[in-house]
Amino acid sequence: MTALNIDLEELAAIIRLIKEAEFSEFRYAKGDVSLLVRRGELPADGGGGEATTAAALAPHPTPKVVPAAASQPSAPSPRGRGSESALQGSSSSVTAPLLGSFYGAPKPGDPPFVSVGDRVEADTVVCIIEVMKLMNSVVAGVAGVIAAVHVSDGELVEYGQSLFTIQPVQPA
């Protein structure tokens, strides 16, 4: 079975098309091939539309070009074609489950648990909150991509304070 018989140029053209149009989701099916391109709602931290499109694609490192297996044609139907269903992934916040000092890395000098753009699962540890020398791991709680980090190392965070913004995606 040929996995891809759509070339990159065609894909780029399609993405350009979507970028210009106001579509947030695009599906294409032809023969054995179906294509899904979705534009998310990530805050455009880095700037303009290009970043947005890139970020939206990032969750799917393999282009969402899927061989139309038996299951595939049925996928679009429960989701409908309305644009609201495409916006299901509105951003979610990771809030501090307790008051304490925020640490973004396992120990000083280590690379951070997560950075903007990183893919996380619901159980991925995203930071540590220290209360009186007791370290409490905080998990993402939702699968997605880190869109923003709101606090810096050592900062006092309060109960319920927003620590990260995550753009949810379908579990891989």
């Binding site: 307790l98 008051l99 304490g100 000092s101 220290e130 209360v131 009186m132 007791l134 006092l156 309060e158 109960y159 319920g160 304070q161």
Partner: protein
Amino acid sequence: MSARRIFVANRGEIAVRVIEACQRLGIETILGVSAADKETLAARRATRTVTLGGARSGESYLNQPTIVHAALSTACAAVHPGYGFLSERADFARLCAENGLIFIGATPEQLETLGDKLSARAFAQSVDVPVSPGGPTQTLDEAKALATEIGYPLLVKAAFGGGGRGMKLVERADDLNEAWSVASSEAASSFGDGTVFLERFVRAAKHIEVQILGDRHGGCLQLGERECSLQFRYQKILEEAPSSSLNPDDRAKLHSYALRIANGLKYQGLGTVEFLYDVDKRDIWFLEVNPRVQVEHPVTEAVTGVDLVREQVLVAFGEPLRLSQSDIRLEGHAVELRLTAQNPADGLRPSPGRVTKWRPSPIGGVRWDTHMYEGYLFPPYYDALMAKIIAFGLDRKAALSRASQAVDSLEVEGPITNATLLRQLLAHQAVIENSVTTLWLEEQFARRTFP
């Protein structure tokens, strides 16, 4: 001295009271709140508010490591625990000290001595302050012998562990066997110690307490007494200063007992020494010491002119007392009413909810200690106190009259309050004559005199 900052680990009206005292001293306040208390009056008044944890007290107001962490992270020098919550916890006082924070209260050792009924009684006895006849018993035979000695009726309760848990009234010798055995097994299972405390039960007793204040340099004062006999199930409803039940001899005795305890402990901070007063027999018995600011402290402030919370903060920072005993002169009479979100028509069941109307009337001689405002959502998680109405007059009659005026003119809507009960109480002959004893109101409720 450089700008000081105090962490306020409490809520409600007492948080507002502490913040207000700090503001007058030029001290910044960091208020630790639960997620349910972010919109309180204290949160608006504090220099800064930090959210400690969830609505449940265990996650917020009782969460010791979190409070200490928050106080250190916000560069506070001291923690004010208010009343209730962590105010009498020796372990918390110690945790503060270990982390370089001043705990605004008694020392951990004093809190330990006073926190346990047996050691508190033993201490009172050691400084020749009379305690009610009674003592701990390990066996039923011991209990029988002691009961004969102290006479009936008597109270039977667990020696360790606080509150009124498992407390039983024994009217006759025939009932001792069962009551003692139940109390002992309850005590053993709840507190890991089956020791049972027997104590004489005084049916017609008044609750009288003395305000004490001590500094770190051995200085101690008493600031007169308060009477709080009007209670409902050990919850005080009306408090006043001075007590109109004491003759001069008994008053002098009471004050000297309180000072003996304060001096004996080298007591630090604000405290209240509580006594039972048997009016007929003129017996005075030590009950306990509350080592913290008391809810009813404003009546003492009204008649002495001393800002007790201010003094409490200053002595905690190590300043010597600025007042001597001869500076404490009482003038007039003050009455405090506790306005609560409790429905008198429904056994004083709590009635939280949105305060849709809150209009206390400005009346000369009346102080309102409150955290109410229109639109405030009274949460269901904590105590029902809405406001303390403190009325001052040249004599008791004048103070009561102003208190009535204040309750009558209050416009409050939203939660159901006990205002109707307060009005009935103020009009009742027993209150006007001050013949009430600690069980009076409960008996009236049982007889359906109220509401």
